[in-house]
Symmetry: C2
Subunit: 327 residues, 2 copies
């Protein structure tokens, strides 16, 4: 690959002038500029980004640490984040943590070694004390002291779910989620507000008894058998709000296998947007997190980091009720 030197030599100018042309910085005589551009084209010269990163101590690469890219919501979020970054000319590195803290840490090292210069963090591990504030870090959904975060409006999501189930005529409610969502957990997560809002809203409307099923945080895909048993145990429940569409799908299947009709006997809602394209049977009523909006908020913060402008401590993006066939 030809370098700036080759261009300078062939055009009979100094390398600084070539640099000025490719960066459109400083003054260059029109004539010189054209000559240089011609040579650049002839040689097919492209500036070496590694060398640029070297002088600027920045590479405009963002790392996204997330549990995995298999979960439908994560795949969508990743897609939106990458698309939004692309517009602004940042590049995205994916880092599957599989929820393992040691993998997360090894990825976080990339900030110290200048492999990436900013990082989006989506984790349930309590790694706050390991996050150096001097780096450009953004958290999604989890609240870490001193780290800006982005989340969709989980409280509103829980509220909408409660109101919708009430409107559909449900009288006896259940909430199903994984236990990291509890408000008294080590990791403070925005997600816990789904349950909170759901229960508070029901209370306000006169429904004081809500069955809460929480289970150990899993792989986002499978839910334990006990949960399914619990669902069948409470035969009078007719309105169920699940922490995700994946959980809702399982719950619906469990109910139907047991001879219950959804939504006639039981109304079931999920969370994330119901965009499950492999949705055999019914489409799920859900709360859409609108990942394109959270992605935009994340990229906004990243830009503020790079521009050294003021960063809001957090950004909450709107959610939307999506009515499917399960309520």
């Amino acid at each position: 690959m030809s370098s700036i030197k080759d261009v300078a030599f062939k055009a009979g100018v100094g390398i600084a002038t070539v640099s000025r042309v490719i960066n459109q910085s400083g003054y260059v005589k029109q004539e010189t500029k054209e000559r240089i551009e011609k040579v650049i084209k002839e040689l097919g010269f492209k500036p070496n980004e590694i060398a640029r990163s070297m002088t600027q101590q920045k590479n405009h690469i963002v790392a996204f640490i997330l549990p995995n890219t298999k979960h439908l919501f994560f795949g969508e979020l990743l897609y939106e984040v990458e698309s939004a970054l692309y517009e602004k000319n940042y590049k995205l590195m994916v880092c599957n943590s599989s929820e393992r803290i040691e993998k997360e840490l090894s990825y976080i090292e990339m900030l110290k070694t200048n492999r990436v210069d900013s990082m989006i963090l989506l984790t349930n591990n309590d790694i706050a004390h390991l996050l150096d504030k001097k780096y450009r870090i953004i958290s999604f959904d989890r609240i870490f002291e001193g780290i800006p975060y982005v989340a969709s409006d989980n409280y509103e999501g829980g509220r909408l779910a409660a109101l919708h189930l009430i409107e559909r005529g449900a009288k006896k409610f259940m909430f199903i989620g994984d236990d990291q969502q509890g408000s008294d957990n080590i990791v403070n997560t925005e997600v816990s507000k789904r349950r909170l809002a759901f229960i508070e809203t029901l209370k306000q409307k006169g429904f004081h008894h809500v069955i809460e099923i929480e289970y150990p945080l899993g792989n986002y895909i499978d839910i334990p058998d006990e949960v399914q048993q619990q669902v069948l145990l409470h035969k009078d429940v007719d309105g169920i709000f699940c922490i995700s569409d994946a959980v809702a799908a399982r719950v619906i299947k469990t109910l139907e296998l047991a001879g219950k009709h959804v939504p006639k006997d039981v109304k079931v809602m999920g969370y994330d947007g119901g965009r499950s394209f492999l949705n055999l049977g019914k489409t799920i009523t859900s709360i859409d997190q609108q990942p394109h909006l959270t992605a935009k908020a994340i990229v906004d913060i990243i830009e503020h980091y790079y521009k050294n402008t003021r960063i809001e401590p957090f950004q909450i993006t709107p959610v939307k009720l999506v009515i499917g066939e399960t309520t």
Copy 2:
């Protein structure tokens, strides 16, 4: 961040010696080594990877260009590729092309500008002539002249599908796929062998008439209404093989809405592995591409590139029949 210079100064040695210690190259007296390691720890020094890339003209970053990360199969493949690369200490950049050729080209530029030093390409666009053989490029599923590629055993997949449907008692067959899969297309894809094998195998078993429905390549998620109408039109068909689980899911839903029972009236198979965790209703019988195996094959080729060892022109990885509730 402290540099190698700071370490050298504080340890009272030259920078070359420090370099030898961090790279475990060349001879360093045990005593010196220990002193340097102590200083490294004290300073929290980490070598700057940008500078390293500078001298080595390599950054061990791999780009993965793919249509999107929303499709379940892509999300899985991405996960497996990233995991396999992680083991070997490579980093992965994701590049959603949304099937747009200009985005693909802009990502391919990253090879020229040294932002990444190898690339996995998953595309339906005919960009063979734009791919410079001097770069480390690997294609998934598509055959481009002179570019090594990896694919799962699509022929075997089609064959297994035919045999399974026959075994389940189907007599009248249909294939549903998108038209880029046709063998006479501009882009030569391994995927076309699914159809080929399906039809050839049926013929061998005495079934000579297969209805083939092909439609313009879509976004991998929606299938056109016409396809669904076609499905209902051929009332005597009782064995359908679809190009993906996503398509199969739609077909099944269409059939069931029309009052047909799957699998009693019609047996339907998909492709990709049936791991649709949002699978309400029935689980789909499918051909598992075993993305962990293709991922491994891809990473193998990448390693050969870096080591400058001989690269096989292609790698075909095994598939597996997964029996669900739709056949």
